[in-house]
């Protein structure tokens, strides 16, 4: 029985943690390495860095961050944000992360997934999918929430897995950062089409939300605001989940 994973996410801009609501109104959340260390000691099962630094500054700020974090955090580390090529991914993996997440670049050029899986193995390839509800279904959204594509969530998941996605990180923009619960309908829709692990993201506010997401089909949950600013620590959340009978790592 694989244990359900609790994954703190650090959105990083110019070397600092930031977090917004519905992808907007960013505020400062501290030093990424310090926070990563705290979450690790607190029992996080995995960590995700999403780098939203623009342009050429990105490489200069994110690589040292990954190197420093990987030296003190001994759980899987995923890094995403602006990964467009195999070379981008290789740099991050050599800096010490274990998986890379791709999003918009894979939608624009699905072959990127096959290239990454071919080079590094599909266990290294996390497909981040942002969605919005449109006409009773879910559509894939790219460019950090700015561009709604005609692509249906289910179609994209099937195509991406066939190409080489080893894990799906599903974020519902409608619930992201609001701490009012995950978008359960999107999780249910995605889970029905996932043969690889599904990480639910966007909306964790209280421990009960984790139980709902797992019941809807998530293998792991990702959260940012609730750990940066909220009332729950990773440890207190896991204690609650254990008491509720969910199988999590001690």
């Amino acid at each position: 029985m694989v244990l359900k994973r609790i994954i703190p996410c650090l959105d990083v801009k110019d070397g600092r943690v930031v977090k917004g609501v519905h992808f907007e109104r960013l505020r400062d959340g501290g030093d990424p390495v310090e926070l990563a260390g705290r979450y690790y000691r607190d029992g996080a099962d995995e960590l995700v860095f999403l780098d939203i630094t623009a342009g050429l500054e990105r490489r200069r700020t994110v690589l040292p961050l990954v190197e420093r974090t990987a030296r003190e955090v001994f759980i899987p580390l995923t890094v995403g944000g602006g990964v467009r090529t195999v070379a981008d991914a290789r740099e991050l993996l050599l800096a010490g992360c274990d998986k890379v997440a791709v999003n918009s670049a894979a939608v624009r050029r699905p072959g990127l997934l096959a290239d990454l899986a071919g080079q590094f193995g599909r266990q290294c390839v996390v497909l981040a999918v942002d969605v919005l509800p449109v006409d009773g279904g879910y559509r894939v959204v790219v460019d950090a929430g700015r561009t709604v594509t005609p692509l249906r969530l289910e179609d994209w998941l099937l195509q991406a897995q066939a190409l080489g996605a080893g894990e799906i990180l599903l974020t519902s923009i409608a619930t992201d950062g609001a701490r009012a619960g995950y978008d359960l309908a999107s999780i249910t829709a995605a889970a029905a089409h996932c043969r690889v692990p599904l990480i639910a993201s966007g909306g964790l506010g209280t421990a009960g939300h984790v139980l709902e997401a797992c019941r809807a089909g998530a293998d792991a949950v990702l959260a940012a605001s609730v750990f940066h600013y909220g009332a729950w620590t990773v440890a207190s959340l896991k204690q609650f989940l254990k008491n509720e009978g969910l199988e999590v790592r001690a």
Binding site: M1, V2, D45, I75, G166, R195
Partner: protein
């Protein structure tokens, strides 16, 4: 000194970071001559069984590893490094492993569960009857019933089927999980195993 065998199969950075955090001295080695100078070795690896076996054979590392073991020097195999110690794997039926133990790895697939087996799972260590939680990423497994006889200790995990997660026999130990990614408990495991006490 620990020889960390680099045979082009996956990223060694995580393991290097873990060894450094434990204060252990290591050297990354990529040729058979380098291994002869190491008191102990780690055979890591994420990747394809056939490619890895072929690389070991082509570089002569396979012979160096067998000599290392024949001289009763310690070796730890991790993930694919554990699989390579056995005869073979369904991943690459035509490729021979190092053949230190009988047995072939099988694909998780008949169980209806997601493949690869990725994430945290519980490992039962025997005969101590201790449990530890460890991080796994693998698609092939050795059935628990194929555990090499005469192990000092062994660890088992369940994912649809019971499979061998770790063992030690003599000066050879191996784990299917990634101790370098298994948190403080994983680092503890790594330190204990590498002390060969």
């Amino acid at each position: 000194m620990i020889g960390l065998v680099d045979y082009g199969c996956g990223n060694l950075q995580s393991l290097r970071n873990a060894l450094e955090a434990l204060g252990l001295t290591y050297s990354v080695i990529s040729g058979p001559g380098d291994l002869a100078r190491c008191e102990q070795a780690i055979l890591p690896g994420v990747g394809h069984f056939g490619h890895a076996a072929e690389h070991l054979r082509r570089t002569g590392l396979d012979g160096a590893i067998r000599r290392h073991l024949d001289q009763d020097r310690p070796l730890l195999g991790i993930c694919l490094g554990m699989q390579l110690l056995f005869e073979g794997s369904a991943e690459s039926p035509g490729s021979a492993g190092l053949g230190q133990f009988p047995g072939r790895f099988e694909l998780f697939g008949q169980t209806g569960l997601k493949v690869p087996h990725m994430g945290w799972n519980r490992v039962r260590l025997l005969p101590a009857d201790l449990w530890m939680e460890a991080y796994f990423v693998h698609s092939y497994y050795l059935p628990a019933g194929r555990t090499p006889p005469g192990c000092t200790w062994s660890g088992f995990c369940a994912y649809g089927v019971d499979f061998l997660a770790a063992f030690r026999r003599g000066r050879l130990a191996a784990c299917q999980f990634h101790p370098e990614k298994s948190g403080p408990r994983g680092l503890h495991f790594l330190r204990e195993v590498l002390s060969w006490s």
